[in-house]
């Protein structure tokens, strides 16, 4: 039964959740609880926090996220092809060449447009 494999996987997932919950419950029982105001302030090297915590961050992060989305999803096509590579002919390789070249052009584009340069935090 092939499902069995996934049941095992499910067991692992559940188990890790149980572990986490158990640990937190255990911790709650064991740990002390002595609230004081400074404990609950946001940490900022011991100073009073300045401004908002959720600051606007650099646009670069988005660009990388976009790059990631594109390249990550393109692997969707690489994997099926790779699995069946032995059964496909030379022409499939040529097709994949074209595909990868297009990907590479995309990378080159990002490169030349300085998307890959990281120039701040």
């Amino acid at each position: 039964m092939y499902t069995n494999h996934y049941i095992v996987v499910a067991i692992f997932v559940v188990l890790s959740i149980i572990l986490a919950l158990a640990a937190f419950v255990l911790g709650r029982i064991l740990r002390p609880y002595k609230p004081s105001d400074p404990k609950y302030t946001t940490y900022e090297s011991g100073n009073e926090p300045v401004g908002e915590g959720q600051i606007r961050f650099n646009i670069r992060y988005y660009l990388f996220a976009l790059m990631f989305v594109i390249f990550d999803v393109e692997t969707v096509f690489l994997y099926p092809w790779a699995v069946a590579y032995n059964k496909l002919g030379l022409f499939a390789l040529v097709e994949m060449c074209i595909f990868v070249v297009l990907l590479a052009v995309g990378l080159l584009y990002a490169w030349k447009k300085k998307v890959l340069e990281w120039n701040s935090v």
Binding site: V8, S16, T41, T42, Y61, F64, T75, A82, L93
Partner: protein, 340 residues
């Protein structure tokens, strides 16, 4: 184990599955503690220090003590934090790390689940941890945490692509994404292993793995000196422990993946060494990789962020794309020679 998996599911079988899983969990927890102990020990040795030596014999129980300390530590959630997400984030980071272990085979016939897209499963689940890290950074409502989280996310997603593409070559050679089959495809001795024909993929995979693990020289998200502790700056107690747990489990997971995909899994390198059991070989190889990782940490300085990103996108990604064609060419030549 394998034959149980092919049978109809019964309650007994289910119980056995659960028991084996729990056993693995316990093993992993112990393993992680040992890992931390040895890391500190080896680092100490490399830096001409002694390392932990007080708790237990040779300081072996030092890690256990640390865990216990974290367990009984007061756990604070900052007032400004987004509480639900803050609580949820460490679990989300930890969960995939352990779940990946379900598909790792440890020896011939010794595995938990034999999924035919095991490789994909492993690699894609590792991506989910990134979400936990971003959540941690965001929900803490702390500038350091946010920047750390974003950096970490940027780094992880940047290196995930080379990782994923670099194993395409292996998949091509094996014709399957089943990790067990990948290992069986390398049956034989070290000249049959994938790391030789896949040398580019291997190198890319190892380097990217180091980065995925956020370890030196790519440990920017945690960069103590600039970001205090990165995304988990606000975490304490056992929530913090979960990040550490996840990190060290990932160390095991990625080492195991390197071994399984490129280094022949449980196969012995020389015919003379066949007498050593499979599982031991597997563990030896994993230990070697882990040692290598620790060694790196002791040796290399931390790179700059722009260098890090540049390496990932401008070197590793093109290399991994190139690897696909190198593999294709290699396979073509091989079949040409064999097919004559």
């Amino acid at each position: 184990m394998l034959h149980l998996l092919t049978e109809q599911l019964t309650w007994t079988n289910f119980a056995i599955f659960c028991a084996v899983a729990v056993a693995l969990l316990l093993f992993v927890l112990v393993w992680v503690m040992l890992e931390i102990y040895f890391e500190r020990k080896i680092l100490g040795a490399m830096q001409f220090r002694i390392g932990p030596n007080r708790v237990g014999p040779f300081g072996l129980l030092q890690s256990a003590a640390d865990v216990f300390k974290l367990l009984i530590k007061e756990d604070t959630i900052p007032r400004k934090a987004e509480k639900q997400l803050f609580v949820f984030a460490p679990i989300l980071t930890f969960l995939p790390s352990f779940s990946i272990m379900a598909v790792l085979p440890y020896a011939d016939g010794f595995l938990h689940a034999d999924i035919n897209v095991g490789l994909l499963y492993a690699l894609s689940l590792s991506g989910i941890s990134t979400v936990g890290i971003i959540l941690a950074g965001w929900s803490s409502n702390n500038k350091y945490a946010l920047i750390g989280g974003m950096r970490s996310a940027a780094q992880m997603i940047s290196y995930e692509i080379p990782i994923i593409i670099s194993v395409v070559g292996v998949v091509m050679m094996t014709g399957s994404m089943n990790i067990r089959l990948i290992v069986e495809g390398q049956a034989g001795y070290f000249w049959n292993w994938n790391f030789l024909p896949q040398i580019i993929g291997f190198v890319v995979f190892v380097i990217a793995s180091v980065s995925e693990l956020n370890r030196t020289p790519f440990d920017l998200p945690e960069a103590e000196s600039e970001l205090v502790a990165g995304y988990h700056v606000e975490y304490s107690g056992f929530r913090f422990a979960f990040y550490m747990l996840a990190e060290y489990i990932y160390m095991f997971v990625f080492s195991a993946l390197i071994v399984l995909i490129f280094l022949g899994g449980w196969n012995a390198p020389f015919p003379q060494l066949d007498f050593i059991p499979d599982v031991i070989w597997f563990l030896i190889k994993v230990c070697c990789i882990i040692f290598f990782l620790i060694w790196l940490r002791a040796t290399l300085p931390r790179v700059r962020l722009d260098q890090l990103m540049g390496l990932g996108w401008k070197v590793l990604l093109p290399l991994s794309l190139l690897n696909i064609f190198v593999t294709a060419a290699y396979m073509g030549i091989k079949s040409w020679i064999i097919g004559g």
